[in-house]
């Protein structure tokens, strides 16, 4: 066990954790932020995606010690009032069904749009192919990413 400082959504949390505990479980069980989801535990489904220093990572496969003192952004940190452009696009395109995978999908889309503000279909495939949606919202995810790109140009 070790005392670790997590910087989640610009807020510091001091936790006592096994340094090998995946960041996912530290965020969910120790800090208590539950927007980041457990889906597979082996970096296959993308439900647990958060940003680590701005880059999308699978929090289920990163030890909490690696994230210590670094900036971690979860879905809750994107915006809590849905003012973020990706969240707005997700609402406009009515993407979620069950909604469980969408935190991860949105975090991946948000990272994609930061590096490619006007992504092509291939860019979208590349960025999103690690994310499973069992409800099959893929057509709407694609539309929503394009809608978000449009919204960004209107700012």
């Amino acid at each position: 066990m070790a005392t670790i400082t997590l910087k989640l959504n610009n807020k510091s949390h001091t936790i006592d954790a096994d340094p090998k505990m995946p960041l996912l479980w530290a965020i969910r069980d120790l800090v208590g932020l539950t927007g980041t989801k457990y889906g597979c535990g082996i970096a296959q489904c993308g439900a647990c995606t958060v940003h680590l220093e701005g880059k999308p990572v699978r929090s289920c496969s990163i030890p909490v010690s690696v994230a210590a003192n670094k900036n971690v952004t979860t879905i809750e940190g994107l915006s809590s009032d849905n003012s973020d452009v990706v969240q707005r696009a997700w609402i406009l395109e009515q993407v979620p069904q069950c909604g469980y995978c969408q935190s991860g999908q949105i975090m991946a889309a948000s990272a994609l749009l930061k590096s490619k503000p006007n992504p092509s279909d291939t860019d979208i495939d590349m960025a999103m192919q690690g994310h499973i949606c069992r409800c099959g919202t893929y057509p709407r995810i694609r539309k929503a990413i394009k809608r978000a790109a449009q919204l960004m140009t209107q700012k």
């Binding site: 539950t34 989801k37 597979c40 296959q44 849905n82 969240q87 909604g99 069992r134 409800c135 893929y138």
Partner: protein, 731 residues
Amino acid sequence: METADKSLSRRNFIKITGLTGTAFTLGIGFSASGKDMTVVRAVTAETTNVEVNAWISIDTQGKVTIINHRSEMGQGSFQSVPQMIAEELEVSLDQINIVFAPGNGRRYGSQVTGGSSTIRGSYQKLLRLGASARHMLVDTAAKRWGVKASDCYAENGEVIHRASGKKLNYGELVTETAQLEPPKEVALKNPQDYKIIRKPLPRQDTPIKVNGKAIFGLDFKLPGMLYAVVERSPRFQGKVVKFDDAETRKVPGVKFVLKVNRDEFDNMREGVAVVATNTWAAIQGRKLLKVDWDDRAFPHHNSDELYAKMRELVKGDPISFRTMGNTAKTFAKAEKKIEATYETPYESHSCMEPLNCVANVTDEKIEVWGPIQGPDWIQQNISGHFKLPPEKVHVNMTFLGGGFGRKAFTDYPYEAVMISKEIKAPVQVVWTREDDMTIGPFRPGMVYQCKGVVTEGGRIGSFETKISGQNMDLQNPGADKSAYNSSDTEGFLEGYFNSIPHYSFGDSPLDSPVPVMWWRSVYASTNAFAFESFLDELAVMAEKDPLDFRRQHLGERYQLLIDKLEAVSNWKAHKKNEGLPADASAKVGYGVAITECFSSIVGEVVKVSKDAIGKVKIDKVWAVMDCGWYVNPDIIKAQIEGSIIMALGAATKHETTFKDGKAVERNFDSYKMPRIQDTPEIEVHIMDNEEKAGGVGEPALPPFTPALTNAIFDLTGKRIRKLPFSLDAIA
């Protein structure tokens, strides 16, 4: 007994909704005879024997609260139920607050969200409930103004006097209205006048599903709650001989290790639970646990043994379900006839939210929270097993991260309750992805043997299907294994039974220790592959266009759907060489399938082509849904898109196989899912008619796979009769 429960139910309604007694509350339900639908006031409900199963309430601010008695697992009941109430009540959607109903079979009727039944089972009731409340509010306003009710109307949460333009907000009317008796009869709106129903209004649960605020089962926490993972027998029915937890207990955070049971179709399955202060510690502790299983009492099958058995079984005489004429004799005498066998795999539900459940057992009551499709079943199950009256068993639904049939099952809440009772603390049982994918129950694998005859005139002379696979109803102890399976025809168009002179459907159930359960669209999800592939084979034999071949057997409702499907997919223009077997050298293939289940009919056309390197790809899917009366076209569209993509996975990506009695595929690295880049363009159309409401969440799944394989036949001349297959492997 009834009265006590009703009075409790109203109190609970008030408690759940936070409403005070001053609100105007109406319920609707069926009288004891079960025949007459009755609208009742809250006070009356306590003294009559009406089984109230839906409530609405309006408070003095005009805020409307309704209880959603079905779970929300993505299919949109959270949106469609308020949309129905808002229409007849004449309020806007943002005036409605919706809350989940706790499990109570006596109060809400069946709450099991399955069979695509939320709308079709309740829409007439909900419309009437809204309309009754509106009429009563108008009466109150008219009385206060001293005018005729017929001179007033309701709009946007207000009653308006037509001549003077005077207005009263619903909130100002509720106290008096609560004293009125509901009308015996009430006229419902004409669908042409709908303002909210049939509109693609955005879902109210979307905002909280894009910012992490929606609480799924796995997100639910109680103060002092511990986390458990359970080691269960990898061979399904094994019993715990002994376990060694010495290493497990050394893991920081591990608090308890104990033997537990899980109620699987009234059979007690065994496991060992590791309970810790966080999920990760419980998972780590379980890795170090050593369990000796006794699994000698049942066979340890491999998949090939299961399928070999099924292939034998379909050769024998089935338990007959539905027959007409004499298929055996007709087949024996016929000249134009074919026979084909189709096989479909076992599948995991693999909801994105793995199974989980929170339980808190105290001296007074048992309380359960989780992603639950069947709260009333769970209440009944827990009440029976733990010997507590049902009102002391509270079952609460969170949002479900997918359900697809798996979360209608009572095993996982039972296990959580047992652990909480033993350790005397609130606990969340978490199933890892590997648990979720290997413990089951699964969609059963099936084998279909079809025999068919084509007449001189190019019609179906005889259609016979013998089915083998595990019957989901035969798993409880004492189940009647000689009973027929009424789902043997699920997916087949009802219209064919009026026009095919000889038909027979029956099944020979497979006995296996593998637990099986409904998977989205249930038997139709596999039946349709056999039926609609075989119809395509018969059409080829009859040298007829697959749409025309179907059309000649079907009545008007089906014909309208076929016409629509033909038009939107531009079928005629693309079907070169009409009436001839497919041209194997063509670059584009079209396939169709039309199925019927849960009272809806869906036709799908799939277009496939070969890319530059000769690889087959799916270019586009057209779907036409006839679900009769409907609420929200955008939710229907979403459900159809999702159904098609889920079918695509089961057709071309994943299956559960068994080796030495254990499920082989344990996570998404081997159970491959369709991804965004695999998804074709999907175009959806909905039929507008006056038919009764049918299901929406499931009926679009069954036709996709046969439409796809029929298209591949059209393109390549190769008939795919076994699922799953890889698109990459088709040359």
